[in-house]
C-alpha cells in the first residue's frame, strides 16, 4: 500500500459516511412503517469486498454494529465473489447467521467497478411483520426459530436487475402487512442503489486502490484513537455480574449475566465464558448479539465521538463460547434477542467502573422499553401499534443522569407522538409524564423514568415484556438503585394486575395499560448531594417529600 495523500484521506473519510447518511435518508423518508420512519430502527452502510465495514450512517442504532458484515459474508460464501452481477440485490435475515429476530431484514447490493466487485451497500431495517406465530414486539412464547417467521438466507430478490417474482410472491403471501413490508423492501433496495452509485463514483474519481488505501488509513486512525484510551485504563481483570429476571417461561428463574473484562496494555478482552447458557424462550441472540454488546460498550468508553468503522474495534477481543444466551445455536428462538443486551452492556461498564470511576455512569434503565397492541378495526383492517419509550439514565461523576431517554442499544430512536398514535390507532393516551422519585438517590441523582397510560377504545391484544424487575438499575460508588419497570393493567371493571412478560393479553374497551419505566441509578453517596440540588428536585417535582427519605440522613427533614 502506498501512503495516500492526507487530503484525499479526509475527502474519502467524509464521503463514505455522507453516502451512508444519504442511504438512510432515502430509507427513512420513503418507508412504510413506524419502526423505520418514526422510531428509526435501521442502519445503512458500505462494506468492502471482504464484508468489512467502511462506514455506517450517523445516528441510528448502536446495537447494529457488528452485524452487517456477517450477513454479507454469508452471501459471499454462498455465491463466491464471482457469483454476483450488477443489478443483483440480496435479502437476508437468517437467524443462525444474523443472530437476531427475523424482522430485522438485511438488503444489500454489490458495487462494481471496472467489471470487478468492489464492495457492498447494505441496509438493515425492522419490518413490521415477517410471518410466524407472533406479532409486534416479540411474544415470549416461541421455543424455536421456525415459529418466528420466514427465514431468508442470502437470496437474490433481484437478479441482474430482474425481480425474483417467486420469492416476491412467497413474501407477499406469508407476512401480515405485505404492503408495508414490501414497501419497506422497495425503500431498502432504493437506498442500496444510491449507496453503490455513490461509492462507484468515488472509485471512478480517485481509483479503487487509492480509495481503499484511504479507508485503510481511516481504520488505522480509528484503531489508534481507541488504543490510546485503552492504554490509559490500568491493566487488570475486572469482573461484574448482574441478573435478568427470567426467560419469559419460568418467571422465577433468574438468568446470570457475568462478564470478565481484561485490560492489558492497549488491548481489551471481553470474556462471556460464564454467561447464562442459551434458553428455550426467545431471549437469545446469536453470536453477533454478544459481539455487538461488547462493541457498544467498547466504543462508548474509547471513542464515542468518532464515526463507526472496522478499525474502531481492532483493539477489542471478545471471548464468546457457543451456546450461551448471546451465542445461541440454531434453532434457538430469537424473537426477543435485544432484551438482554442493555443489561449486558451495562454490566461490562460496571466491571470497568472501579478502574475508571470518573468515566462510567451508574446503570441506566436497562431494557428496550417497548410495547405493542394489535387487533382488527371494525372495518376488518388489521392494526399494529408499536411504541418505544425511554427511562432514566444513571447519575454521572459530575452531574445528574438524563431522564426519559432510550436505552444504550438505541441511539436516535424516537418515541411515537401521542397525537400520531391517536390519529392512527383506537386508543386514548391518558398520561405521558415523568415518573417522580424513580431516579436512584445519589450525590448525582439518576434520571427519571416515564409514566405512559393507554386506554383501549376497542377489543385488542397486547404483548408486554418487561425486564430488570428483580435487579433494578444499580447505583455506583454509594449511589442507590433506580426504580424498576412496572406495567399495570386496569380492566374497565376496576380489576387490576401487574404484568411481567406476557403474550397476547386480551383487552377490551375501557381497559387501561400503564407503564412505569425504570429510573437510572444514583452516583455517589446521597448524603453528599448538595442541598440546593435537592431543593430544585423538590420544587420541580423530580423528588417528592416522600422520596426525600432516601436523602434525609444528611439533610434532615427540612430542605
Amino acid at each position: 500500500m502506498t501512503n495516500p495523500h492526507p487530503v484525499t484521506v479526509e475527502v474519502v473519510r467524509n464521503a463514505v459516511v455522507a453516502y451512508a447518511d444519504e442511504m438512510a435518508n432515502v430509507l427513512a423518508k420513503s418507508a412504510y412503517n413506524m419502526m423505520i420512519y418514526e422510531v428509526r430502527d435501521y442502519c445503512c452502510g458500505l462494506l468492502d469486498a471482504n464484508a468489512q465495514m467502511i462506514s455506517q450512517n450517523r445516528g441510528g442504532l448502536p446495537i447494529f454494529l457488528a452485524d452487517l458484515g456477517p450477513a454479507v459474508e454469508d452471501g459471499i460464501q454462498r455465491y463466491g465473489l464471482d457469483g454476483f452481477v450488477p443489478g443483483d440485490v440480496m435479502i437476508m435475515n437468517h437467524g443462525g447467521v444474523c443472530g437476531q429476530h427475523l424482522n430485522n431484514v438485511v438488503v444489500y447490493a454489490p458495487c462494481f467497478h471496472d467489471g470487478k466487485i468492489a464492495g457492498f451497500a447494505a441496509t438493515r431495517a425492522h419490518w413490521v411483520d415477517i410471518g410466524g406465530v407472533r406479532q409486534g414486539f416479540g411474544s415470549s412464547a416461541t421455543t424455536d426459530i421456525f415459529g418466528e417467521g420466514l427465514q431468508l438466507r442470502s437470496l437474490k430478490i433481484y437478479e441482474a436487475g430482474k425481480r425474483n417474482e417467486t420469492l416476491w410472491q412467497i413474501l407477499k403471501d406469508n407476512i401480515r402487512f405485505p404492503e408495508a413490508s414490501l414497501g419497506d423492501l422497495r425503500a431498502q433496495v432504493a437506498a442500496c442503489s444510491i449507496g453503490i452509485r455513490r461509492y462507484g463514483e468515488l472509485l471512478s474519481r480517485y481509483g479503487r486502490q487509492t480509495v481503499e488505501d484511504c479507508v485503510a488509513v481511516v481504520w488505522d486512525q480509528a484503531e489508534a484513537a481507541a488504543r490510546r484510551v485503552v492504554e490509559q485504563i490500568p491493566d487488570g481483570e475486572y469482573v461484574a455480574e448482574s441478573f435478568l429476571d427470567n426467560d419469559g417461561r419460568n418467571l422465577d428463574q433468574r438468568l446470570r449475566v457475568k462478564v470478565k473484562v481484561t485490560v492489558s496494555g492497549a488491548r481489551m478482552t471481553v470474556d462471556f465464558s460464564e454467561m447464562q447458557k442459551q434458553v428455550i424462550s426467545p431471549l437469545n441472540s446469536g453470536k453477533s448479539g454478544g459481539i455487538a454488546a461488547a462493541r457498544v460498550a467498547f466504543k462508548a468508553v474509547t471513542s464515542p465521538g468518532l464515526d463507526v468503522n472496522e478499525g474502531c474495534f481492532r483493539p477489542l477481543d471478545v471471548i464468546l463460547p457457543e451456546g450461551t444466551m448471546l451465542s445461541a445455536q440454531p434453532p434457538a428462538a430469537l424473537g426477543l434477542w435485544s432484551i438482554a443486551l442493555p443489561t449486558v452492556i451495562d454490566t461490562i461498564l460496571k466491571a470497568l467502573a472501579p478502574a475508571i470511576p470518573t468515566r462510567i455512569p451508574a446503570a441506566h434503565k436497562g431494557d428496550m422499553g417497548g410495547c405493542s397492541f394489535f387487533g382488527f378495526r371494525p372495518d376488518g383492517s388489521r392494526f399494529l401499534l408499536m411504541n418505544i419509550f425511554g427511562g432514566g439514565w444513571g447519575g454521572r461523576p459530575d452531574e445528574d443522569g438524563e431522564s426519559a431517554s432510550v436505552s444504550i442499544c438505541q441511539g436516535d430512536v424516537r418515541n411515537t407522538p401521542v397525537e400520531l398514535q391517536e390519529i392512527k390507532y383506537p386508543f386514548i393516551i391518558e398520561e405521558h409524564g415523568l415518573r417522580p422519585d424513580s431516579g436512584g438517590a445519589g450525590r448525582y441523582r439518576g434520571g427519571l423514568g416515564v409514566v405512559l397510560t393507554y386506554r383501549c377504545l376497542q377489543k385488542c391484544r397486547a404483548n408486554i415484556n418487561l425486564e430488570r424487575l428483580t435487579e433494578p438499575p444499580w447505583g455506583l460508588h454509594g449511589g442507590q438503585a433506580g426504580a424498576i419497570n412496572v406495567a399495570i393493567i386496569t380492566h374497565a371493571d376496576g380489576e387490576q394486575r401487574s404484568v411481567r412478560k406476557e403474550t397476547e393479553i386480551d383487552l377490551g374497551p375501557g381497559d387501561r395499560v400503564s407503564f412505569f419505566t425504570a429510573g437510572g441509578g444514583g452516583y455517589g453517596d446521597p448524603k453528599l448531594r448538595r442541598k440546593e440540588d435537592l431543593q430544585t428536585d423538590l420544587a420541580e417535582g423530580f423528588v417528592t417529600r416522600e422520596g426525600l427519605a432516601d436523602y434525609n440522613e444528611s439533610t434532615g427533614a427540612q430542605v
Binding site: 492526507p6 467524509n14 433496495v189 486512525q221 424516537r414 390519529i423
Partner: protein
C-alpha cells in the same frame, strides 16, 4: 420609493439601499449593546435621507441568539392534563448514540411553571372533556407572583380543534395584559405535540425581548423622522410587518442568513436558470441552498442549536445547509495526524495569522494568501494589509512540520479540505434532494464564495458558476427583493380518491379565510397577493409526505389521476423509486401567501439587469498562483473587476479582484462578463 435593507451580523452591520434609483452600500461595526444604533449609522453613512425612505427591511439574529444564549423571558407552559412533561420528555432519542454523557434538549421553561389544565380533545377534534376555565383562572396569582413574562399554551390536538386554547388564552390575556401569550394553533396547525410545544415555547420565550427590540428600532427610526414601513426578514425567505414579527418572533429565527438566498433566487430567475445552488461563504461558515425555478428550497422546520440537544422549531425555513468552513476557519491536526479545518474560527478579531493581531493558528485565508490566490494589498478594499510571512509561519509550524509536508503542500491541503467539506454541504442540498449537480448552476457570493466556487463546482461536477455583482454584500441586497410571505397549514387526513368533497372544500375555504384575514391586518390588497396551495401526499402507510402543488380543491376530489402522476414523479425523483399501483393519502394542505412589493422589486431588478458600465481601464498584472500542484505555481492574469467590459472573456488561470471579493479562475475555466456585469464561469 427609497428603500434600504440592513443586515446585522456578528461583526458588521451591512446596508444596501436603493436611493433615487441608485444602489448604495455601507458597512459599520455592529453595536452589540444597541443594534438599532448600527442600523441608523449605516443609513447615515449611505446618505439615506430618512423622511424620504419608504421602507426599511431588516434582518437580525436577535431571536436566535436569545435562544442560544438562553436569555429569554421567564416562561410558563400550559398543557393538557396528563401531559405536563411532553416538552421535557421530547422524543427520547439520543443522537450522539455512543456518548454515555449525552445531553438532551434542555427545556426553556421550568417544570414548576408547567401547569396541567383539565380538558381533552380527541384526534378528530371532538371534545372529550370540556376545558375547566376555573382551573385556568386559579393559575393567575401564581403566574403573577412568580414574575412570568411569557406564557405558552399547547393542548393536545389543538391543530384539529383550537377552541380550548382560545378560551384559555382569552382568560389569561385579560388577566395578565403584560404577559406575552402564545397559543400553539396560532403558530402551527400540525400534529406532533412535542415539536408543536417546542415551537410555541420558543415563540413565547423570545417574545418579550424581540418585541422590545423591535419597538426600540421603530422608535429610533421615528426619531430620525422615518415615516415608512419596517419589514422584518423571516426564516421562510419572505418578510413580515414589524407588528406581526412582534407576535410571531419565532418566524424570524433565521432572519439573518436567508436574504442572500432570496437574491440568488431572483438572479436565477433573471438568468432563466431552473436549478441553481446558492453558495454563500463568509468568515465563519459556508451556507448553501437549492434553488428551483428561482425559489430557494423550504424545509418544514429544523433544530436550533444543533441536532443533538437543540430546540426543534417546526415552521417553514429556507433549507440552508451550513458547514463550519469560512475564511476564518482554523486548520488543525488531531492526535492521529488527521488534518481538519474548522469549525473553530478566528473570526475578525484576532482574525487570520496574516492580520498580525497575534493569532498563530493558520486559517483558510492564510492558505489562500500564501498560495497567491488573494492580494495582500487589496483585502477588504485595501483597508487591511496582510502579511504573507505570518501566514507561512503559521502553516509551516502548525500543519506542514507535523505532517511532514512542504508548506505549500500543507496550504493546498487546507484549502482542499475546506473545499471538500463545502462540497459535501452542496451535495447535501442537491443530490439528497434527487438533483444531479451536473444539471445545476452555482451562484456564489459572500466574502469567500467567489474565491472557492470554482474548486467546489469542479469537485461535484457543477458545470457553471455565476458570481453576481456586489457579491460581498449580496445578502443585504436580497432583502430588497424579498416578498411578503405567510404560510398556513391545516391537517386533512384521508385516502386520495375517497376524500369527502365538502371537507376538502371546507379546508381550502378555511385556509383562504385565514389568509385574507392576515392580508387585511397587514393592509395588503387581495389582488396584490398570490395564493399557492400544496397537498402533502404519501403512499398509504408511509409517514413522510411530499408537498405537491394543487390549484384548488377540485384536484383532490374529482379525478385524482393527475395528482397521482405528479406524486409518482416527485417520489421517483427524490427516492429513485415509486409505486404507481398503490393507494395514496393526503395528510395536510398548505397555503403559501405572497405579496410582491412590485415597485421596490422593479428598482432592484433594474439594477441587477441594467447594462454594465465599466470604470476606466485598469492595467492588468500577473502573479504566481498555486492551483492543483503546490510545487508548480502558475503564472496567472490579475484583473480589476470594475474595469472589465461586458462580453469580455477571461480564461483561467486568472484572478479577478474587486473591492470586497476575489474571483478565482482555475486553469481551464472560462469566464464571460455578462451584459449586466455578472461573471459567468464555465468550469474547465
Amino acid at each position: 420609493m427609497n428603500i434600504a435593507g440592513t443586515d446585522i451580523g456578528g461583526t458588521f452591520t451591512d446596508l444596501v439601499g436603493c436611493i433615487d434609483g441608485k444602489i448604495v452600500t455601507s458597512k459599520t461595526s455592529t453595536v452589540p449593546a444597541d443594534p438599532a444604533e448600527g442600523v441608523v449609522e449605516t443609513l447615515r453613512i449611505a446618505g439615506c435621507s430618512m423622511p424620504s425612505m419608504g421602507e426599511v427591511l431588516h434582518g437580525c439574529t436577535i431571536a436566535i441568539n436569545t435562544v442560544l444564549e438562553r436569555k429569554g423571558a421567564r416562561t410558563a407552559l400550559l398543557t393538557t392534563r396528563g401531559f405536563r412533561d411532553i416538552y421535557s420528555i421530547g422524543r427520547g432519542n439520543r443522537i450522539e448514540a455512543f456518548n454515555l454523557f449525552f445531553h438532551r434538549p434542555k427545556p426553556l421553561t421550568e417544570r414548576s411553571l408547567t401547569f396541567e389544565i383539565p380538558e381533552r380533545i380527541d384526534a378528530r377534534g371532538n371534545v372529550l372533556t370540556p376545558l375547566d376555565g376555573a382551573a385556568v383562572e386559579a393559575l393567575i396569582p401564581e403566574l403573577r407572583d412568580r414574575g412570568v413574562g411569557a406564557i405558552a399554551i399547547c393542548l393536545l390536538h389543538a391543530y384539529a380543534n383550537p377552541a380550548h386554547e382560545k378560551r384559555a388564552g382569552a382568560i389569561l390575556r385579560k388577566a395578565l395584559p403584560d404577559a406575552f401569550i402564545t397559543l400553539s394553533h396560532e403558530i402551527l396547525r400540525e400534529y406532533r405535540e412535542y415539536e408543536r410545544t417546542s415551537t410555541t415555547v420558543l415563540n413565547a420565550y423570545v417574545g418579550p425581548r424581540v418585541k422590545t427590540y423591535l419597538r426600540r428600532l421603530a422608535d429610533r427610526l421615528e426619531r430620525e423622522k422615518f415615516r415608512g414601513k419596517i419589514q422584518i426578514m423571516r426564516s421562510n425567505g419572505g418578510v413580515m410587518s414589524v407588528g406581526l414579527a412582534a407576535t410571531q418572533p419565532v418566524a424570524m429565527m433565521e432572519s439573518g442568513p436567508v436574504a442572500g438566498m432570496i437574491a440568488a433566487g431572483r438572479l436565477a430567475r433573471d438568468l432563466f436558470l431552473d436549478r441553481c445552488i446558492g453558495f454563500d461563504m463568509g468568515g465563519t461558515t459556508a451556507k448553501t441552498t437549492l434553488i428551483t425555478g428561482g425559489i430557494p428550497a423550504i424545509e418544514e422546520g429544523y433544530v436550533i442549536g444543533g441536532a443533538a440537544s437543540g430546540q426543534p422549531m417546526q415552521l417553514p425555513v429556507v433549507d440552508i445547509v451550513e458547514v463550519g468552513a469560512g475564511g476564518g476557519s482554523i486548520a488543525w491536526i488531531d492526535a492521529d495526524k488527521g488534518l481538519h479545518v474548522g469549525p473553530q474560527s478566528a473570526g475578525a478579531d484576532p482574525g487570520p495569522a496574516c492580520y498580525g493581531k497575534g493569532n498563530d493558528q493558520p486559517v483558510v485565508t492564510d492558505a489562500n494568501l500564501l498560495l497567491g490566490r488573494i492580494n495582500p494589498r487589496r483585502f477588504l478594499n485595501g483597508d487591511m494589509q496582510l502579511d504573507v510571512g505570518l501566514s507561512e509561519r503559521a502553516i509551516a509550524s502548525k500543519i506542514a512540520a507535523p505532517l511532514g509536508l512542504a508548506v505549500h503542500d500543507a496550504a493546498l491541503g487546507i484549502l482542499r479540505i475546506a473545499d471538500a467539506a463545502m462540497s459535501l454541504a452542496v451535495r447535501a442540498v442537491s443530490v439528497n434532494k434527487g438533483v444531479d449537480p451536473r444539471d445545476t448552476v452555482m451562484i456564489a457570493f459572500g466574502g469567500g464564495g467567489p474565491l472557492h466556487a470554482s474548486a467546489i463546482a469542479r469537485e461535484i461536477f457543477v458545470p457553471t458558476v455565476v458570481i453576481p455583482k456586489l457579491p460581498g454584500t449580496f445578502s443585504a441586497l436580497g432583502m430588497l427583493m424579498a416578498v411578503w410571505r405567510q404560510d398556513f397549514v391545516r391537517t386533512l387526513v384521508g385516502r386520495l380518491g375517497a376524500l369527502d368533497a365538502a371537507t376538502v372544500n371546507a379546508v381550502f375555504a378555511e385556509l383562504s379565510a385565514a389568509a385574507e384575514e392576515q392580508l387585511t391586518r397587514e393592509g395588503i390588497s387581495r389582488s396584490g397577493a398570490e395564493l399557492t396551495f400544496h397537498a402533502d401526499l404519501r403512499y398509504l402507510g408511509q409517514e413522510h409526505a411530499i408537498p405537491v402543488p394543487v390549484t384548488g380543491a377540485q384536484l383532490m376530489t374529482g379525478d385524482v389521476s393527475r395528482l397521482r402522476a405528479m406524486f409518482h414523479d416527485e417520489h421517483a425523483k427524490r427516492y429513485s423509486q415509486s409505486a404507481p399501483d398503490e393507494s395514496m393519502e393526503c395528510v395536510s394542505v398548505r397555503l403559501v401567501v405572497t405579496a410582491a412589493r412590485r415597485e421596490r422589486e422593479r428598482v432592484v431588478e433594474l439594477w441587477m439587469n441594467e447594462p454594465w458600465q465599466p470604470e476606466a481601464e485598469f492595467e492588468e498584472s500577473r502573479r504566481r498562483v498555486v492551483f492543483a500542484d503546490a510545487a508548480h505555481p502558475v503564472e496567472a492574469r490579475v484583473l480589476w473587476r470594475p474595469s472589465l467590459k461586458s462580453g469580455m472573456v477571461v480564461n483561467g488561470p486568472a484572478v479577478i479582484e474587486e473591492p470586497n471579493a476575489t474571483t478565482l479562475l482555475h486553469p481551464g475555466d472560462a469566464a464571460t462578463i455578462s451584459a449586466a456585469g455578472h461573471i459567468i464561469i464555465r468550469i474547465g
